[in-house]
């Protein structure tokens, strides 16, 4: 899994690329926890280059949500493919994630909700 960070003022956009499966979930969890522990509380996770999502990847996202909520922050997602949407629905977690079609939409939302 590859992660590229992009900053829009205080908002961090993470561009995630590759497979989110059991092979990388520990590493990704560690990385995300590290970012949050540094005080980052407004985040966009951009997933248009994520080509596989398993239960391990979903748990990583759920963990991120939990940590950010505990820190009174916001995290939104964008760029889910049709396949990823279906996996989240099958898992029963589709409604847990605030999702936008584009990074621009996600950014606009989070700017309005996280000043």
């Amino acid at each position: 899994v590859k992660i590229r960070q992009e900053h829009f003022d205080h908002i961090l956009c993470l561009h995630v690329e590759g497979r989110l499966d059991a092979a990388v979930s520990d590493e990704l969890n560690y990385h995300l926890n590290h970012i949050i522990s540094q005080g980052q509380s407004a985040m966009i996770v951009e997933c248009s280059s994520v080509n596989f999502l398993s239960s391990a990847g979903i748990r990583t996202f759920l963990n991120l949500l939990k940590r950010i909520e505990a820190a009174k922050g916001h995290v939104v997602f964008c760029g889910f493919s049709e396949q990823i949407m279906q996996v989240l629905s099958m898992a029963g977690f589709a409604h847990y994630f605030q999702h936008f079609a584009s990074t621009q939409d996600a950014l606009q939302y989070i700017q309005n909700h996280c000043s």
Partner: protein
């Protein structure tokens, strides 16, 4: 195709890649990613829960008949039937319910315990069979 791998997390990706390549010509794209997902969850489940002995192995056999592409996973670990509700099984709390849900939703499963072995069959329809 038949292969045997040690039950190790890092070996799941290469095996999935081989099976996906094998199934690609025969299975519709929507069934292909569902098969891949079900296999990932099933293999992770075996790697994490089947063996106390770190040397445990998984036999993986893939083939197709007239209507389905199938993969049979065989291990000699603790008896575990992923087609059953978790509450009826041993070690309930440690098993991964989310993974099991995805496995069941994304492919057709059949389970058998024969002597000391678990046999789990995952199957998805062949491309030609989808429209029949």
């Amino acid at each position: 195709m038949q292969r045997t791998i040690p039950a190790k997390l890092e070996l799941i990706r290469p095996v999935l890649a081989t099976i996906v390549k094998e199934a690609k010509e025969r299975v519709a794209p929507t069934s292909l990613w569902k098969l891949e997902l079900a296999l990932e969850e099933a293999l992770v489940n075996i790697v994490k829960h089947a063996y106390k002995d770190p040397e445990g192995a998984i036999d993986i056999t893939s083939f197709s008949d007239k209507n389905f592409f199938m993969v049979i996973l065989c291990d000699k670990g603790v008896a575990f039937d992923p087609t059953q509700e978790l509450s009826t099984q041993l070690f309930d709390a440690s098993f991964d319910k989310l993974g099991l849900r995805l496995m069941r939703e994304s492919s057709e499963l059949a389970y058998e315990r024969k002597s000391e072995y678990n046999f789990l069959t995952l199957k998805v329809p062949l491309q030609s069979a989808v429209t029949v």
